[in-house]
């Protein structure tokens, strides 16, 4: 006896199962499609915002750029940005000068002595410190240095506060960079009888140098983009820096953005957009470079 394949298969009402499963599948498909559309549009929305901001900053910024910006100082509601550019450079470099030795040392300690309790305390506090609002540090600087020590608005107060903001970042990026150094290198060095200091100073840090330098650049980007903590520590000045560390305020680019956009003069607004272009361009450039060097782009 042969089984009638055709009749057996006909015992299952093909059309009904198909339609039933099709109904379920349709609602699920709709749900899935709607889900992906929502998720995709979230991404498109974010990208569009980014394009919008960059478009505004770059188009209006380039429109406001002129050679005189880099050669003259601010005068009233116009003039140039030379004082602000110089001030930003002085404050940021001063901050790095203070923050780099401590930050790199702390990062080295946290990375190379990672099993000690003190290291985990410092790692944790560095994470917490990153989250302390910069205005709180700025107000601390105002209370202590500007008022109590009587430095007035000054390069020293501004730089020290910026250094405190940079410190935990440098610590963490140094740790990140050292974490990428191969353990074989360390083991080989120890096996040859090298001391801790030799292993760290001559083997690990040189191997991690690109990463450490990038972390420092990143800290530079952060200090160039800061505004709030500088308002009441560095003040503002229309003139070039006179070279004194205390008792003399100094200009910086982010102040120009914040203040001149509120002025009812086209020349002042142009200064704000030009400053925004300089700051944004510099910060974004450093961030892109940093991601490549620290390997966050290469997955």
């Amino acid at each position: 006896m042969t089984i009638d394949v055709a009749s057996v298969s006909h015992q299952i009402p093909l059309s009904r199962t198909a339609s039933a499963s099709h109904q379920v599948r349709l609602s699920r498909r709709l749900f899935s499609a709607a889900g992906w559309i929502a998720a995709g549009s979230a991404l498109v929305f974010l990208s569009a915002l980014m394009v919008w901001i960059l478009g505004v900053v770059f188009i209006r910024g380039f429109g406001a750029l002129a050679p005189s910006l880099f050669t003259t100082v601010t005068q009233g509601n116009g003039g140039g940005l030379l004082n602000a550019i110089e001030g930003t450079a002085v404050l940021s470099l001063g901050a790095l000068l203070l923050a780099v030795p401590f930050g790199v040392a702390a990062g080295t300690y946290v990375s190379e002595c990672r099993f000690s309790r003190w290291a985990s305390v410092i790692r944790f506090l560095a994470d917490v410190f990153v989250g302390v609002p910069s205005i709180v540090l700025g107000y601390f600087g105002y209370v202590t240095m500007v008022e109590w020590l009587g430095w007035k608005f000054s390069v020293a107060a501004g730089s020290i506060i910026l250094a405190m903001i940079c410190l935990p970042y440098i610590c963490r990026t140094t740790e990140l960079a050292l974490g990428q150094v191969s353990n074989d290198l360390r083991e080989a060095a120890y096996a040859l009888g090298a001391s801790d200091r030799r292993v760290i100073m001559k083997i690990c840090l040189p191997a991690a140098l690109p990463g450490v330098l990038t972390g420092i650049l990143l800290a530079l980007a952060i200090s160039v983009g800061e505004t709030a903590p500088l308002l009441y520590t560095a003040g503002w000045s229309n003139y070039l820096w006179d070279g004194s560390l205390t008792h003399s305020p100094i200009g910086y680019l982010t102040y120009a953005i914040y203040t001149f956009i509120n002025e009812p003069f086209a020349s002042a607004n142009a200064l704000a957009y030009a400053a925004a272009l300089l700051v944004t361009g510099f910060v974004l450039l450093i961030n892109v470079v940093a991601r490549f060097v620290l390997g966050q782009v290469r997955h």
């Binding site: 889900g35 992906w36 979230a42 209370v143 505004t227 961030n287 390997g295």
Partner: protein, 359 residues
């Protein structure tokens, strides 16, 4: 991934054990002494970090102490920021010199800070998670790198530049198009969307700008967690007949819950302390509680900047000390929030959080 994480379980000998492990090498006392000296030296330099954090809290507390004593607990529950009569002679109350009529209460700041932060999270979390899901599952790995970078750079833009954009571009757009539209549609149904649509400066605008700053943090963390989900999980869900979206939404995403909570705490901390952008778009309300999402607000961080100039007019210094009290409260809140975030991320979720650069 392995390259990027600080691997806690690294197998190389930690410094603390090297000297005892390498017994075959005859170590002179001098070697041991040098090692100890170098390590102690490094540890004490690293101590600058905790020391400066302590200094911030300590100095602010000492400076704000007269204000803390004068303002008391009611400080947080009253809605008055009043410097008093600045032309009168200072009077002494309970051993503290103040201007007559001076009275400080920052309820409006607390409400403004909390509302703007919560609204920012409400905006940022769905968008951030959605973008992360799409990036992790639908975008080719090579393209993902570039799109992620582009979107995450949003967090690298200085807040004053976001404030500039908000002031010059976003506020006119919202005030002329979106807010009137919202008022005349869902405004009739939901009260907080109703009422006068205002000038564009206010709660919603602040929250929107804040959301833009914290979205990359959420997207990046959730995306990493999604990509790191084990492949068998994804494959079994698909084998059971789940669609791609169902797999992501019902199977993979719930696994990233703890990471998302940690990232949300981090985002919360960042939004609480954000100053410049909020200062430029919030309308800087004084002694005013918002009735709808268009009303002006002020936050604790922005208030410190906007009020220091006028606080300096108070010859007794009580106003400046009260601002220090606000800074101290903000500092302690952000320390707690960030500590919680790290604990959630590292201990609870077991997610080795790599230090993020732009965020």
């Amino acid at each position: 991934m392995a390259l990027l994480e600080v691997d806690e379980s690294a197998t190389y000998a930690p410094l603390g054990r090297v000297t005892s492990n390498v017994r075959c090498v005859q170590q002179s006392l001098e070697y041991k002494f040098q090692t100890m000296k170098f390590r102690t030296w490094l540890a004490s330099i690293a101590g600058v970090l905790p020391a400066s954090l302590m200094a911030v809290v300590l100095f602010l507390a000492v400076y704000a102490w007269p204000a803390i004593r004068f303002n008391g607990v009611r400080f947080a529950f009253e809605n008055t920021w009043n410097l008093g009569n600045l032309y009168a002679d200072p009077i002494t109350i309970a051993g503290t010199q103040i201007q007559p009529g001076a009275h400080y209460g920052i309820l409006f700041l607390i409400v403004g800070t909390l509302l703007s932060t919560l609204l920012a999270l409400l905006l940022a979390v769905p968008v951030g998670v959605g973008a992360a899901m799409f990036l992790a599952e639908k975008v080719d790995a090579r393209l993902r790198t570039w799109i992620s970078l582009f979107v995450e750079l949003l967090a690298a833009i200085p807040s004053v530049v976001l404030g500039l954009w908000g002031y010059a571009v976003l506020i006119p757009f919202l005030a002329h198009y979106l807010f009137p539209l919202l008022t005349h549609t869902i405004g009739y149904v939901i009260p907080i969307f109703g009422g006068p649509s205002g000038s564009g400066y206010g709660l919603f605008t602040s929250s929107f700008v804040l959301a833009m700053m914290i979205v990359p943090l959420i997207t990046a963390t959730v995306r990493d967690a999604l990509v790191a989900q084990p492949a068998p999980l994804r494959e079994s869900a698909l084998a059971l007949g789940a669609t791609g979206f169902e797999t992501t939404y019902h199977v993979l995403l719930p696994n990233t819950r703890k990471v998302l909570i940690g990232a949300t705490f981090l985002a919360l901390g960042r939004a609480l302390g954000e100053t410049m952008a909020v200062l430029m778009v919030s309308g800087n309300a004084l002694n005013y509680l918002p009735h709808n999402i268009y009303d002006p607000i002020s936050t604790m961080a922005a208030f410190i900047v906007s009020q220091l100039d006028s606080a300096l007019q108070d010859p007794t210094g009580m106003a400046v000390r009260t601002l220090a009290e606000i800074a101290l409260i903000l500092c302690i809140i952000s320390i707690i929030v960030n500590a919680l975030a790290r604990l959630v991320l590292q201990l609870w979720s077991g997610y080795a959080q790599r230090p993020r650069l732009a965020v």
